[in-house]
């Protein structure tokens, strides 16, 4: 199972914009997998897809919990700052990339999520639809709006033409 750990953690880290929460969420997904091992196996489900969906669900739960405490946005920004503030780390990364990540983090979690699943995990619209339990059309629209938002804000920031 360790093989999926890295991918799931990257995904959850991007969606939640918080490394520690990502650890919890992925841990939770694995616990759920083991708890449902029999049924998952019997239905011949693809473990990878199942894990991504479960991680997605756990992440949604996390975000709900957090927003119920009305902390979501403040906290996310706080944590985003802490998370990005490692200067040594930033030096190593391309400046443009850092800016792009900042703009990505200003999108809604679900918008971030579809972009991450598409670009980082290389999933098709159909696979993403499977993870989100929504239609392919919904995924397409979400990706479109997310990309447009991002393009707009990056254009304003002068990163793209």
């Amino acid at each position: 199972m360790e093989q999926y750990q890295g991918a799931l953690l990257r995904y959850a880290t991007r969606v939640l914009n918080n490394e520690e929460a990502a650890q919890d969420v992925v841990q939770e997904a694995f616990i759920r997998l083991y708890g449902n091992w029999g049924s998952v196996m019997q239905r011949g489900v693809k473990v990878k897809g199942w894990l991504f969906r479960t991680t997605h669900n756990a992440a949604v739960d996390y975000i709900r919990r957090e927003s119920r405490r009305k902390l979501l946005h403040e906290r996310q920004h706080e944590q985003a700052d802490v998370f990005e503030a490692d200067p040594e780390e930033e030096n190593q990364r391309n400046e443009r990339q850092v800016i792009v990540m900042q703009h990505l983090n200003s999108l809604k979690p679900k918008e971030r999520e579809v972009l991450v699943l598409r670009l980082q995990e290389g999933m098709s619209y159909k696979e993403i639809a499977g993870v989100l339990k929504r239609s392919e059309g919904y995924v397409g629209t979400l990706i479109h709006t997310a990309t447009q938002k991002l393009t707009k804000s990056l254009r304003q920031a002068g990163v793209v033409a």
Partner: protein, 643 residues
């Protein structure tokens, strides 16, 4: 304008190759005639490409709470119930328990067959390290989402990744202690009358000592098989005379009473390699082969590895070249051969651990890189830094040894630096070094890195004699039986000594190698196995006052034929007035016997080890002998014996 709005909505899907054929053609047609939409498309494409690389480079954890288990054990706080219940270890244990139970339940019934089959199918070929990324340039109807597979080297943005071999990773092991050591069967006494010849290859490794130190520093006695006595003895430099003749090395001999058995004698054979001033050393062509797999992702591994390599780079001279190959799920050339220190240091800084370990592919690529920048007359060397936990591709000990053996004759030497604990594969690394014309050291802290890479850089890095073998003939008139202490995995057959095809150990500039024999004198009344009563042969002794003859064969680094050195030891006074070397080496060996709880330890005692170590500390410029004394004191306490 209205059309443009319609088209805009579908641009993302168009870019991602997720459009139906009919829609795709419509968009194409519109784009051909609409500059505004083409610009929009270009911008979106740029954003997506940028985001793709940004996501790739963005930091994210690669493992679930990777090394908490170590912490818990080290600091050993009393676990409260809650702590245990909520600890990830417990969850994992619980989960695997549930798993096992389920499996047991299922396997009891007929269903098992189909279930197991389904399960196999359910595990689609995993994509853990090899993260798929979409290819943006090929937008084609229906098949636009061709996936490009890129190996994941987290935060190694500007590197050249040369894919060599990316086999499917195996499911990695449990976070428990999975260190591996090969069992050591100690050499026992041989009757000099029956087999007067003892043949072995020198061993310049020192890893066992630092590994033993690591255990003791963690308040544990080392497992007996981690204790290779010759490596402990060879950890220390001894005060042997420098070679001054035609040979680049010289043999020193000494015999005295055996400290742990009064009725026995202890013979020392010491080799001293020629010292070469650093400025006279030939140029170095070093290829770092760095294990960047997930198992290296621990504070006592990767950061230590980086600081160790930095130490070595600081020593670099302008004529030296360094390249870096990293391997995780796939092997990649991180740094092409260069002499620019800043570039090298940056590359080291950017190394990050993640993924499984394709050691075999890494070794291949490292040797290839070393060969491409080969310096004739230079010191060409691959420096492998790893915890040895290879789990992808060629990974069995035997296969790796064969792989290394093939590389051995290329004139490229191998240095193995071991890091880490818990999953430390001592057996694998020792074999690699042994078969790869190399040496092996265990780096447990930055001071050890300094010892290996800075203080002994000349010796570790510049080979002055290769295939160094020793053959000792004992005179049965004076020696009833003998036992070589340590070197268990370096023993050679008698005929191997004169066989120049047979590979053996290398001696570095300024290095010393020490071997000890425990001897039972001929007049001893100690009970030994009876000599076989031969019917057709009679052994006739030739009168001689010699105790033994030491023969040594070596080759100069670029020679194919060996040179022979012969020296004898007479009985009685050995001519050596100062037994300091023998005393200290004997103390280290005795310590090893105690740690191994050897059947030959006789009256060995920590107290006497301490006494002799203290008396023979000598100058000890780096404090290694003082540290030895501390370790013996610690082991004495841990073993709970004042013996």
């Amino acid at each position: 304008m209205k059309k443009c709005k319609q088209v805009e909505k579908k641009l993302s899907a168009y870019l991602h190759g997720e459009l139906k054929a009919s829609d795709f053609r419509k968009i194409e047609a519109h784009l051909a005639g609409c500059e505004a939409c083409r610009a929009e498309l270009a911008a979106e494409k740029a954003v997506i490409e940028l985001l793709g690389t940004a996501l790739e480079a963005a930091p994210a954890p690669v493992k679930l709470s990777p090394w908490r288990s170590v912490r818990v054990r080290d600091t050993a706080p009393k676990n409260t119930f809650e702590k245990i219940w909520f600890s990830p270890q417990f969850k994992a244990a619980l989960a695997s328990g549930v798993l096992t139970t389920l499996f047991l339940l299922i396997s009891g019934s007929y269903v098992i067959f189909t279930v197991v089959q389904k399960q196999d199918m359910a595990f689609e070929p995993p994509a853990p390290v090899m993260r798929p990324r979409m290819e943006l340039k090929q937008v084609k109807v229906g098949i636009g989402k061709e996936k490009k597979r890129t190996p994941k080297f987290a935060a190694m943005p500007e590197t050249m990744l040369l894919e060599v071999d990316a086999p499917e990773p195996a499911v990695a092991g449990l976070p428990f202690n999975t260190e591996q050591y090969d069992a050591i069967i100690e050499n026992s006494f041989c009757l000099a009358m029956q087999s007067p010849l003892s043949t072995f290859s020198i061993d310049v490794d020192t890893a066992a000592y630092s590994n033993v130190r690591r255990f003791l520093n963690h308040n544990q006695l080392p497992p007996p098989d981690a204790v290779r006595i010759e490596e402990m003895v060879n950890y220390f430099q001894y005060d042997y005379p420098q070679p001054d003749g035609i040979h680049p090395l010289v043999v020193s001999l000494d015999v005295d009473k055996c400290p742990w058995n009064e009725a026995h004698q202890l013979a020392l054979i010491g080799l001293q390699g020629l010292e070469i001033e650093t400025e006279n050393l030939p140029p170095n062509n070093l290829t770092f082969l760095v294990d960047a797999s997930g198992s290296m992702d621990a504070p006592y591994k990767m950061p230590l590895l980086k600081s160790s390599l930095r130490l070595l780079v600081e020593q670099m001279r302008p004529e030296d070249r360094i390249s870096i190959v990293a391997y995780a799920g796939a092997a990649g050339l991180v740094l092409a051969p260069t002499s620019d220190k800043t570039v090298i240091l940056n590359a080291i800084e950017n190394l990050e651990a993640g993924g499984s370990t394709a050691g075999g592919a890494g070794i291949e690529l490292a040797y290839k890189t070393a060969k491409e920048s080969f310096i004739k007359e230079g010191n060409n060397r691959v420096i492998l830094a790893t915890d040895g936990d290879f789990n992808v591709g060629v990974s069995s000990d035997g296969d790796l040894v064969r792989l290394i053996q093939k590389k051995r004759n290329s004139g490229i030497y191998l240095t193995v630096l071991g890091f880490g604990m818990d999953n430390y594969k001592d057996s694998k690394m020792e074999k690699l070094a042994q078969h790869g014309s190399g040496n092996y050291a265990y780096i447990d802290d930055i001071l050890e890195a300094k010892k290996v890479l800075v203080n002994e850089m000349g010796g570790t890095l510049k080979t002055i004699a290769k295939d160094v073998k020793l053959q000792i003939e004992f005179n049965p008139a004076h020696v009833k039986a003998y036992r070589l202490i340590g070197y268990e995995n370096r023993m050679l057959a008698t005929e191997d000594f004169d066989n120049d095809q047979r590979d053996a150990g290398e001696l570095g500039a300024g290095h010393t190698v020490t071997a000890l024999y425990e001897l039972i004198p001929a007049d001893s009344d100690e009970k030994m196995p009876e000599l076989a009563d031969l019917k057709y042969q009679k052994t006739k002794l030739i009168p001689s006052d010699e105790l033994m003859t030491v023969k040594l064969r070596y080759k100069t680094p670029d020679a194919d034929d060996s040179q022979l050195i012969v020296q004898t030891v007479k009985t009685g006074i050995s001519g050596v007035i100062d037994h300091g070397n023998l005393e200290f080496a004997g103390a280290v060996a005795e310590f090893g016997l105690l740690l191994r709880d050897s059947e030959f330890k006789a009256n060995a005692s920590y107290d006497r080890v301490l006494e002799r170590a203290r008396e023979n500390r000598g100058e000890d410029p780096h404090g290694y002998r003082a540290e030895f004394i501390r370790l013996v004191e610690k082991a004495k306490l841990l073993s709970g014996s004042g013996k």
